[in-house]
Amino acid sequence: MRRLFEIVRILYRELHYQIVKRNPLVANDEKRFKKQLKNALSIKRNLALQSLAFIFFGIFMASGIILSDNKIVISSLAVSLALVPFIFSLYVTAVQSSYVVSLGLFEPLKSLPIRVGALYLSELLLIDISVSLSIVLPSAIVLLIKFPINGLLFLLWVLVGILAGHSIGLLIFSLFGLRIAHRKTRGQMLKNLFKILGLFAFMSMFYALSYLQEYISKNSEKFASFFGKYIVAYPFSVASIFEPSKSLVFLTGYFIGISILYYFSISKVWKEILEPKITSEKGKAEGFKSSFGGTIFALTLKDLRVIFRKTSMLTGFLVPIYFVFPQLFIALRSGNLSKEQVFGLLFLIGLFSTSGADAILKVEGKEMDFLRTLPISKGQFILSKAFSMSLIPMILASLILGLGTYFDSATLYLIPYVVLLPLNVSLLTMLLLFRYKGKEIGIPEINFGEVLALFLVNSVLLAFIGIPAFIINAPKGLAISYAIALLSLFLMLKKIKG
């Protein structure tokens, strides 16, 4: 156990050293670099600072539970709260593990007699994941005071949720993040598509579970009476906390299932780190052919290639789906998807484009050293990152717009939002992250407190864009809204070029 902690401590220090080294905000300022390094290498300090950033958010979220004694209201709040650490855990595991391995952190461990080295990776990630607990902790404390047993059950559900997100993240990483194709082939695109579909399937498995349960309940009276009014799929299952015996049965079932998944994933990850599966295919090298496009296009294309080939990194971009899916399901269940609902979903996707910032910056691990040997200006780099970051939300937005147009052709008028909203959010995010002086490129360090702040700033920007369309009738309101979005894009592009 002591050895485990010692190695994890070393890995943590190395990871954060590598991050600070590539952070242009501090890398060229000797004093700041030393100070930042000192802070970044301390696990306790990092945890405390990040938890502090989250705890305010947590207190805000706990206010609902403080103010209410209604068990149904509290149950609903508990369900929403439990989703946050689960997604956080899934996201951090899938994206960060890919980054950690690409930095070569595990190379020195490969030659040592270690049976399951992925345990170190797991512990390392859990340090970062544990921060998310501070979001639910205030609510959990309030619940523990008000309803001790139910509060304890809630806390256990959250822990199980974290473990579930972490285990699924590890499985995604082992299935999609570590396999190396030997050669680029014509079938690669199709394979990548299947990988993405697989990833979608993983991420939506909890929704699938709720439908499965609905089906079973309809077809079996015995099961229907057991499930009763609760949905067995996490996080909806958390609503069962006010029926402790039932909740405990669900919880135990989850814990056993997830523990098996964790054990399986962790062994698989280490096996694949030690010996990545190389999928070899016969093929003849074609001569070199240059493609069209300029620097920014080439950099964006490079990002997308890396993301689609390291599919676990895609998880970072699929976060909006988690937030959009429930609303989409609710809307579609009513048999209609109105223009107003599409409007809301497009803004939601726009806002959640923010979550792609971390993943898009993590495309560059140690490869940043290579990029820095090339004549790339900061402006070009910012633009390419903003484009890469906004592309997947744009695809998602266009799918929803297409669906909305199927129900109501007037929805097509919202088409400019598909591009304008993710691009505005991405550009503002990148401008804020690359706010350092100087022309050189680098990877700014991005912590979760900063992500929250970015969400806040981007909400304000989206509010400015969206409010005219909301309060002034179409088409005038929409036209003003588009004009504001274009103006803000223009101003940001001017700032980048300047």
Binding site: K184, G283, A298
Partner: protein
């Protein structure tokens, strides 16, 4: 031309580069030799516009590296001691990326890639992901990316690392050709016979300082030694140390 004046680089309490000055003229191969940790790579990174010096000036073709690192990167072709390439890209995709960033016309890029790829025997690996290539092949890919834009100045930090004899010979011949074309080449290596073969002048760097500089003959004369290896060991105060260590090992065994 590369001009270095009183260059310093300090990392915390460690002075990596301690006020070095030297010049690499047009059409010259300048060998920067020194033991591990002597400051060679740091100096080269500063000259390639990747690291900022703590103090001092460095000019590449008259451009100050601190003031305009992007212009410097346009001029320089830099090969680091260890290639850090995108493992999930293929060499083809990487060359295309570099070509676009360096704004090379398509025909010129295709011509140059096909020329170097053939020269270094990388043709069959063009569509293979870089992560699956051997260290030597990755080094060749790294070399090609540095040569694509026909740089006026080349900075090669142990560029022969991992190259097979055929490719090493090709690179050697290429460097001599580049020299004839008037390019300035700063070259570091631990293979002293190689340095003896191709370098016009040598600077011996030790503990961040240039402790000797001149042609091979001048250095031999100065150190009263017959070959470059002995000159190097004498100047870096390693000769007696080696004898002592070897003697101790013999006794221990």
């Amino acid at each position: 031309m590369i001009e270095v004046h009183e260059l310093y680089k300090v990392f915390g309490n460690n002075i990596a580069v301690n006020g070095i000055s030297f010049t690499v003229h047009d059409g010259e191969i300048y060998g920067l030799l020194g033991p591990n940790g002597s400051g060679k790579s740091t100096t080269m990174k500063i000259l390639a516009g990747i690291l900022k010096p703590t103090k001092g000036r460095a000019l590449i073709e008259g451009v100050e590296v601190v003031k305009d690192p992007i212009k410097v990167k346009e001029i320089v072709g830099y090969v680091p001691e260890t290639p850090t390439l995108y493992e999930s890209l293929t060499p083809s995709e990487l060359f295309d990326l570099v070509g676009k960033i360096r704004k090379l016309p398509r025909e010129e890029l295709e011509e140059r890639v096909n020329y170097f790829v053939k020269a270094f025997g990388v043709e069959e690996y063009l569509d293979q992901f870089i992560g699956t290539l051997s260290f030597g092949t990755q080094q060749k890919v790294s070399l090609i990316t540095a040569l694509l834009h026909d740089p006026k100045v080349l900075i090669l930090d142990e560029a022969m690392n991992g190259l097979d004899p055929k490719s090493a010979r090709i690179l050697r011949e290429l460097l001599l050709e580049f020299k004839k074309e008037g390019k300035s080449i700063l070259f570091s290596t631990h293979v002293l016979p190689l340095a003896e073969m191709i370098c016009d002048r040598i600077g011996v760097i030790y503990q961040g300082k240039i402790i000797a500089e001149g042609t091979i003959e001048e250095l031999k004369e100065k150190a009263h030694e017959e070959n470059l290896e002995d000159v190097f060991l004498k100047l870096t105060e390693s000769k007696d140390e080696i004898l002592t260590v070897v003697q101790a090992l013999k006794e221990a065994l």
